[in-house]
């Protein structure tokens, strides 16, 4: 270290460092007020009983946690979050990969196709969710109508009306929004793989499937990791789709951890419960983001 001989004061308060701190200071001030302090406050709140106005009324230690952990609905929400995230990301991944492969074939109009594929991602999430609500409409929705007249499904379900179909319908909307991200990332990755690799594999007698696994997937390894982690976090965090489509109903069937926080707080006014679930969510997200950050930096330094 060239800096080793410098005094502490010189290291932290030389002109360059000073300028850096001044440039970062405004961001830091806002982050402290609207992000770091609120996070700390949520932790504090989780150890207190709160009243309906979310004021702290009494210190109770871990009692709120014990309360939540004894409530079956809490574990159901966790389980739903797990299913929601795991199956959501898997379907997004597979669909995205398929679309990327299709877009990687050269034909006229594939640029236009690529632009069309982006639309669900580019679209505003709340507005998409509203549109889907209309699409899913059991009587007047064009989805059921189309299913009936084409004979694909003569007796389609009421989608958002029953627990299981509501969960799947919400999940599909989240998946639908998330597919283009994977498709675009994978496509960009595939186009960075030199075509000579495929040509020489072809010469060596490798078939399409073989070269897909040993060239394409191998070449995308890092990207797959990063994008899957990122998508997992987004999927886990998806509040808008559920809140707009079903508001966690019917009968809590679409209540995942992230929506549970909000409904506990602003519908049921159980701010202490919401605080506990916020803390749990925060811990889960932090663990995943640490993994993401490590891979991101490792990949960048390569």
């Amino acid at each position: 270290m060239a800096d080793a001989h410098l005094s502490l004061r010189e290291r932290f308060w030389n002109p360059e460092a000073r300028l850096a701190y001044i440039l970062i200071l405004p961001t830091l001030v806002f982050l402290v007020a609207f992000m770091f302090y609120p996070i700390i406050y949520v932790f504090v709140m989780s150890f207190f009983k709160t009243n309906k106005l979310s004021d702290l009324s009494k210190f109770v230690g871990f009692a709120n946690f014990a309360d939540r952990f004894e409530d079956r609905e809490f574990w159901w929400a966790c389980l739903r979050s797990l299913i929601w995230t795991a199956s959501g990301v898997s379907v997004k991944f597979l669909a995205g990969m398929t679309i990327a492969i299709l877009l990687n074939v050269k034909y006229r109009g594939r640029k236009a196709a690529r632009l069309a594929f982006i639309i669900p991602w580019a679209s505003s999430v709340p507005i998409s969710a509203l549109l889907w609500q209309w699409v899913y409409h059991p009587e007047f929705g064009l989805l059921n109508h189309t299913l009936r007249i084409t004979g694909i499904w003569t007796n389609p379900p009421g989608w958002l009306g029953a627990p299981l179909s509501a969960f799947i319908s919400c999940m599909w909307v989240d998946i639908w929004i998330g597919i283009p991200f994977f498709a675009l990332v994978f496509l960009a990755g595939m186009q960075a793989i030199p075509t000579e690799l495929y040509e020489s594999a072809y010469m060596d007698g490798a078939g399409g499937v073989r070269s897909f696994f040993s060239i394409t997937l191998a070449g995308l390894r890092e990207l797959i990791l990063i994008s899957t982690l990122l998508s997992a976090i987004w999927t886990f965090n998806d509040f808008n789709v559920i809140y707009i489509l079903t508001r966690t109903g019917p009968a809590n069937s679409t209540n995942i951890l992230i929506t549970s926080v909000y409904v506990n707080a602003f519908t049921d006014l159980h701010f202490d419960w919401a605080a506990v679930e916020s803390v749990v969510t925060f811990v889960i997200l932090s663990l995943v983001s640490v993994v993401y950050a490590r891979f991101y930096f490792r990949q960048e330094s390569n």
């Binding site: 679309i99 580019a122 679209s123 999430v125 609500q133 209309w134 597919i179 701010f271």
Partner: protein, 276 residues
Amino acid sequence: MKWQSRSRFFAVPLTLIILLFLLFPFFVMISTMIKAGPDVYADPPHWIPSHVEWSNFVTVWTQYDLANYFLASLIIALGATVLNTLLSVPAAYAVARLRFPGRKFAMYLLLMIEMFSPVIVIISLFKVVARFHMLDSYGALIILDALFTVAFNTWMMNGYFKTIPKEIEEAALIDGCNRVETMTRIMLPISVPGLVTVMIYAFIFAWNEFLFALTFISSRNKMPLTIALYNFVGRWTTQWQYLTMAAFVALIPVLVLFYLIEKRLVAGLAGGAVKG
């Protein structure tokens, strides 16, 4: 080559089928927004309107105050864009170009913040916003919308600054410019493409934002589009033709803006493995 023409043979029809499937809600939107009331609630429903009701477009602006919500969205999104840029660009310059203790930590922190869901802190944000007397104000949404994209934008801008050769700046420093001058006179003009990306991203985020508006805005005349449309579902329950028309109007700006930045966005999200 043979395998190429064969794959094309499969790829084109398959692409079309998937697109038809994925764009379904938008076909529904277009079909509904030009229908007259009775057509929307025809039993059985039908795709093609019996006649095209162009006046829906006028009705959403005149009878349903679309202009009001549009303006609210615009004020919030522009405000958030300006604040976000003022915060993230200087911070990004510091992280990208200056050496200071804590730099690495700042980078880690940024990446971590990017992952946070605002829902985690929404209950305490409510208290903070109330204490600053900003409930039911544009100010709260502008600050929060700006802040929750600050990490990503600082990150993107940092990546952009790094692609600019250090020598350009060093030459300016030798010529007698100070750091601030090199930043404003040399770096910023070169970084216009990156700057535009960051600004558009902030704008789109604020335009689409739902949670903060849902939580902090209560007066109807301050509601941005997302929350106004959401609240109308109950009220407009018999008028999906207006809702889809309003949705269409609200979508156009973000679609256009998104197309301008999608390549850089993908590169920024996926890290070094993809070039923008």
